[in-house]
């Protein structure tokens, strides 16, 4: 083994070492986004969801107001032609879910929130878990996650900003049209819930098809004006669904719509043309409703990228973006859980 040679100039090797280390650190910083302030990160998206007074600590950063349910998914076997997921083989599988309102405010009055949602988890004996988060609108508001971020930034700035936003994102008018004209209902049980994002179902022959899914209510919708809904109280929807389910289980039919070649599978703001093949794959039965604070849905992140074997994400960019943002929301709210006590104060109507 050779001794260090004093005659060699150590400057060059030391400079090489410094360069290698600095270059590695810079590559790491670049990958982490520290050198790219314009990168759209989950942190930015989640922060943009917060109302002016800041987020409701301990709660989901969006769809913050909600109530848990449990029940089952009765699969009729029709979906097995489209996907190998066990959930489509005939049988009954346990379900955990959450009715919710698309607002960052867990105390928002029902009649002030236009969009309603459902988080759903179906588990199967093979260990697979399928999570989904759906809304009652028939199309999503915008075409891309970037546009959604712009929407979050524009909406609080008033009419002028929204006009400019719609100019840049004309796809928003389809959603706005629904929001402005579709009748409201006075029950979660009367609302449809649409997955909107497209996913790939792979059948036993290995063929993949792009699909979207929806839950269609068995209950007949009874339209109600928002003013009338407001008169029934700020938390009417949760009281109503709890009573209704206590009286009888509530059902939705799960319908899978199959895209045809050329259909836009990457843009949830565009409905597919009428007449696409639809398959009724089973029935969601909601059997029990529980408050969220200590309910089974509280700890669940209804991340739409959590999928069983036989279902994959498609070229729709939203499930990935939602998955990243939902994880951020989950990390934040679980770190703040002391602000949202699990045992509600006795007599408190709504946490």
């Amino acid at each position: 083994m050779s001794r260090p040679s004093p005659s060699r100039n150590p400057f060059i090797p030391l400079a090489v070492i410094a360069l290698v280390v600095a270059g590695s650190a810079a590559a790491f910083a670049y990958t982490a986004g520290w050198l790219s302030p314009q990168r759209l990160t989950p942190t930015k998206v989640v922060a943009a969801l917060a109302p002016p007074g800041g987020p409701a600590l301990g709660h989901r950063r969006n769809h913050a107001k909600g109530i848990c349910f449990t029940g089952e998914f009765q699969s009729n076997g029709n979906g097995a032609a489209l996907s190998t997921a066990q959930v489509f083989t005939p049988g009954t599988y346990p379900v955990l879910g959450r009715f919710n309102l698309a607002t960052p405010n867990p105390n928002a009055a029902d009649a002030t929130v236009r969009v309603r949602g459902m988080g759903l988890q179906i588990t199967t004996p093979d260990g697979d878990v399928w999570r989904s988060a759906m809304i009652d609108a028939p199309v999503f508001a915008v075409s891309t996650p970037q546009a959604f971020y712009e929407l979050l930034q524009s909406a609080p700035k008033g009419a002028e900003a929204m006009k400019a936003f719609i100019g840049r994102h004309p796809e928003f008018t389809a959603f706005a049209g629904w929001a402005g004209t579709a009748p409201w209902t006075s029950s979660y049980a009367e609302d449809p819930f649409n997955g909107l994002n497209s996913f790939l179902f792979t059948d036993s022959a290995g063929t993949s098809r792009a699909v979207r899914w929806s839950l269609r209510p068995e209950a007949t919708p009874v339209p109600i004006a928002p003013d009338e809904l407001a008169k029934r109280g700020p938390n009417y929807l949760e009281q109503e669904i709890a009573q209704r389910v206590a009286g009888a289980p509530q059902r939705w039919t799960m319908v899978v719509t199959v895209a045809e070649p050329g259909d836009n599978t990457a843009d949830p703001s565009k409905a597919w043309p009428q007449g696409r093949r639809t398959v009724e794959v089973g029935t969601l039965v909601v059997k029990q409703v529980e408050a969220e604070a200590n309910g089974p849905c509280r700890d669940i992140n209804f991340d739409p990228a959590i999928l069983p074997r036989g279902i994959r994400v498609s070229d729709d960019p939203f499930p990935a973006a939602r998955s990243a943002a939902y994880a951020r929301s989950y990390d934040q709210r679980t770190a703040e859980s002391k602000y949202y006590p699990r045992t509600p104060v006795t007599g408190g109507a709504k946490p």
Binding site: M1, S2, R3, P4, S5, P10, P13, L14, V16, I17, V20, V21, S24, A25, A27, F28, T31, A32, G33, R39, L40, T41, P42, T43, V45, G127, D128, V129, P145, D299, I300, N301, D303, A305, I306, R309, V313, D315, P317, P319, A320, A321, S323, A324, A325, Y330, D331, T334, A335, S337
Partner: protein, 183 residues
């Protein structure tokens, strides 16, 4: 006669894990800072590679216990000797702990742990807000510490190779040394 190099198996595991761990750290910081479609495959890759590296480090420790390590050169100053010892204990500790923290934090968040090929790992902890928060913070901050330690390890390796030329780098170099290249 004393060995001056690690065995072929040790060098193979070292360099395989080196590539894997550096990839893990880059994938980790990359995936948590993006909402792009890459997020979904990256997180699956991160879990899969993490599980593979955990198995590899267990093999590595067994190999190390059986095959040992060549001695550090006698000329090495005591401070560097201590640094070498401590940094290697820390590296081994992180190699063991990081995958367990990742698996634990997923479990504590009630996330299914799905790898490539639809392989599913069982949860190792019940859902817990407090545990998830603690493990996620540990996973994140130890990842930065791991990267810093790897940079230090790299700098030290290059210092041995380029400045001290004392055979320490050659002991783990992937290819045999060209003898007496440096006059």
């Amino acid at each position: 006669m004393t060995r001056t190099r690690f065995t072929g198996v040790q060098r193979l595991i070292h360099w395989t894990m080196a590539v894997g761990i550096v990839a893990m750290l880059f994938i980790g910081v990359g995936m948590i800072s993006t909402i792009a479609p890459d997020y979904v495959p990256l997180i699956t890759l991160h879990r899969t590679l993490g599980a593979a590296l955990f198995l590899l480090v267990l093999v590595r420790i067994c190999v190390r216990l059986f095959q040992g390590a060549p001695p550090l050169p006698a000329s090495l100053p005591p401070v560097m000797r201590l640094g070498a010892k401590l940094s290697h204990w820390a590296l081994y500790g992180l190699m063991i702990v990081m995958p367990l923290l990742g698996w634990g934090m997923m479990s504590a968040a009630a996330y299914p742990v799905v790898l490539f090929g639809g392989i599913r790992l069982p949860p190792i902890l019940p859902q817990s807000d407090a545990l998830h928060t603690l493990l996620w913070a540990a996973h994140r901050w130890l990842a930065f510490a791991f990267f810093a330690l790897i940079l230090l390890h790299l700098a030290a390796a290059l210092f041995h190779a380029l400045v001290r030329r004392d055979g320490v780098f050659e002991a783990m170099a992937p290819l045999p040394r060209r003898d007496n290249e440096a006059a």
